[in-house]
Symmetry: C2
Subunit: 200 residues, 2 copies
């Protein structure tokens, strides 16, 4: 996308430069493909800007998105490049020393969100991907009012991208950028299964 022309200059007392440096909250939602993929694509830009990146993956299957993980981790190891941190709920969050033997996904999701709050407060990263984070909100595992207030009040210039279907209306309201991905046609409709390099 090109740099667009601004249609309305808001009466907010900010210069264009100040406005330009405002942190962005983006939400990728809708039933189509590309929500997470576009978020990881944005991470490419963030990496190239030299911003420390973190991914919190609120999903369980180890197979999903392993390709993006491999590639972004490889970028994170390029000498002189920005670091990439990748947390996965499904394996037990990496900072939890003794994950319970009985998986309690609601507790894990809440632990993930608690860590995100800590990282935002500490300005630990510049670019956050909260992948599939709409679901723990939808299921009530994480309080949407807490999410919205935390993101609204986050310090510094920390950009956050949240992906997943059925984004909560309060989250959409709080977002600066919302894109809905609509499925028009999918190979599974024609009886194909996913394949490496395309689906993961």
């Amino acid at each position: 996308m090109p740099q667009g022309k601004v249609e309305v200059v808001p009466d907010d007392g900010l210069t264009t430069r100040q406005r330009r440096r405002q942190p962005v909250l983006a939400v990728h939602t809708g039933p189509g493909k590309g929500k997470s993929t576009a978020a990881f694509g944005m991470a490419l830009r963030a990496w190239s800007a030299g911003w420390p990146i973190v991914v919190f993956q609120f999903v369980k299957s180890p197979k999903w998105k392993v390709g993006e993980e491999t590639a972004l981790r490889a970028l994170g190891e390029v000498p002189g490049g920005a670091p990439v941190t990748w947390h996965k709920m499904g394996e037990g969050w990496s900072w939890i020393q003794r994950p319970g033997t009985e998986r309690d996904h609601a507790v894990e999701a809440a632990q993930g969100w608690a860590q995100i709050k800590k990282d935002l407060a500490a300005e630990a990263y510049r670019f956050y991907v909260l992948d599939e984070f709409t679901y723990p909100i939808k299921w009530g595992w994480v309080d949407v009012d807490d999410v919205v207030a935390t993101l609204r009040d986050r310090p510094g210039s920390q950009h956050v991208v949240i992906t997943g279907r059925d984004a909560h209306p309060a989250l959409l309201e709080a977002a600066d950028l919302v894109t809905e991905m609509t499925k028009v046609k999918h190979p599974m409709d024609a009886g194909r299964k996913g394949q490496q390099g395309i689906e993961w």
Copy 2:
């Protein structure tokens, strides 16, 4: 996205494994953000699968997508990783020795497409991003019937992702995967301009 369950098993005489290895033609269209970004995100998966990647960028501004380019080129130089090739129309295609002093975008677009045809015939890559390729088709610079026939008959297992608004109906018809990105809300609506790391 998870590996989904197939709802209909097609009566095409192929095994699931054969069907799984069929090359994919994906189109990302619609007025929203994320079309190119999701294509570059898919390139992360392709890279991690070890597939040689090529990007043909049918745009003119040198500023667009420079972040993705930097990051994907960095991946292309990771020792042992898959190579990444990046061609930009706006700078004059790299294989054209003496670009004309008078820029003729229609000719440049046709030259780009001619090179894509050569590369497809030679199976030069496994993953192609034809970025903003819907426009030269829309403007009649590249013949859509030639595009559809070439892609339909491409040899081997070469995956192709085409991005851009207003995708031609024949292209949508030929595609295996079509996702439409719809703009729901954009920071420019609030008078913000693009910023590094987010917009490019």
